[in-house]
Amino acid sequence: MNLVSPLFGNVAPVLAASGPVGDMIQKFGLAWPKFLAQVLIFLAVYYVLNKFAFGPILAMLEQRKQRIADGESKLEKIAKDLAEAEKNAQAIVDKANADASRLVTEAGESAKALAERKQQEAVHEAGQIMAKAREAARLEHEQLMSQLKREFGRMVADATSRVTGKVLNPDDQARINKEAAAEVSA
């Protein structure tokens, strides 16, 4: 097969050179048309990759990187918020514990004070009851004594009237009652 191109082979088959360099060029088949064809193919590959691959892929990588960065920042914010929430919750729990302790202490003190007050009230009430009881006993004693004196006076007057056979007038009855009452009191 004749491999020499009629289109380019006889016009510019190889770089114009002679001697060892020319032989080498001939041996390796260097020729401007072939070289330019390879350049064009490479440029076509460059165009295809740059337009259909590198651009969209790099844009997607950048978008994903941005997305990851956003996610990271959100994660940091969430972690920060969580720490803040935990801190707040802990503060609330601490405050609740402190309030509870204070309330327990206050309740204890209040109960103690109430108990003392109730005890004092009970003692006071018991004292009042005792005083009332003494007063009632005294009044009853006085009432009984008065009734006894009256009865005794009446009995003395009745006995005197029967012994003497004389109807006693009110002055005598009053004097006899008074003397009898004095005797009873003594």
Binding site: L7, F52, F54
Partner: protein, 291 residues
Amino acid sequence: MDFLNSSLAATPLLLGVQPAASELGNIGFITNSVIVGLCVLGIVFWFSGKATKNMSLIPHKAQNLFEFLVEFLYNRIEAIVGPKQVKLAFPLLGTLFIYILVSNWFGLIPGVGTVGWGEPTGPLSVKEAHDPLFRPPTADLNATLALAMSAFLVWIYLTLREVGVWGFIVHTFGPKGGLKGLMGFVVALVFLFVGVIEIVSIVLRPMTLSVRLYGNIFAGESVLHTLAGLLDKMGAPWDFIGSVLIPFPFYFMELLVGLLQAIVFTLLCSVYIQLSTAHDDHGHEEGDSHH
């Protein structure tokens, strides 16, 4: 007509690897490496569309794979050239990596480099196929040179954009160290000489890049072909068994070589960009102190 006649004799065959890509037909620039280059373009186009179709934050399989690849490349390149240059340099360097990687691995597909045309020995067989139908672009010096020259042009653009022509000259030839007097003059001469060497190395970069890639992939192809043909003279079935089993372990090595060469090419271009676009703050401070 030769092409048509030869196509009738196309058959799978283990071939010796020619150093140059074979032209297919009468159009000079249509070579077997161009065919594979177009296939790579199609694969890249198809997979790019598949990976970026219905993209979502939770990626599907193709999207996930492509995102992994792009992110890995972007981070590696950014670590070398810096966050400012990576935005400009990544499309080229990423394309270089993917194109070289797919091309290298395409060469390992059974049939690539082994199906082609040669001296007919039967209806569908040839004695030795000199002109394979497929050849990985990275095993064609035209293609590797095209990649290297593209990278070189972008390197020039990024360098001049970042430091300017005068900045590049000062960066390359300017004396460093801040010495004065006779020693300063001597140091300036030394740096002038170093700058000339640097210019030579810069000019040679496209050649070194392209030849390194070409040499590695071409050598890998040659190794696989040689190993596959070791038992050819023993006849059937040993030639078939040998052609499958003997090169089999080396396919894994070539997978690794293909990946490594893609990484090497890309990272070297990244380093070249970084070396010429990085601002020499220390030197500038010294330069400022002289004013």
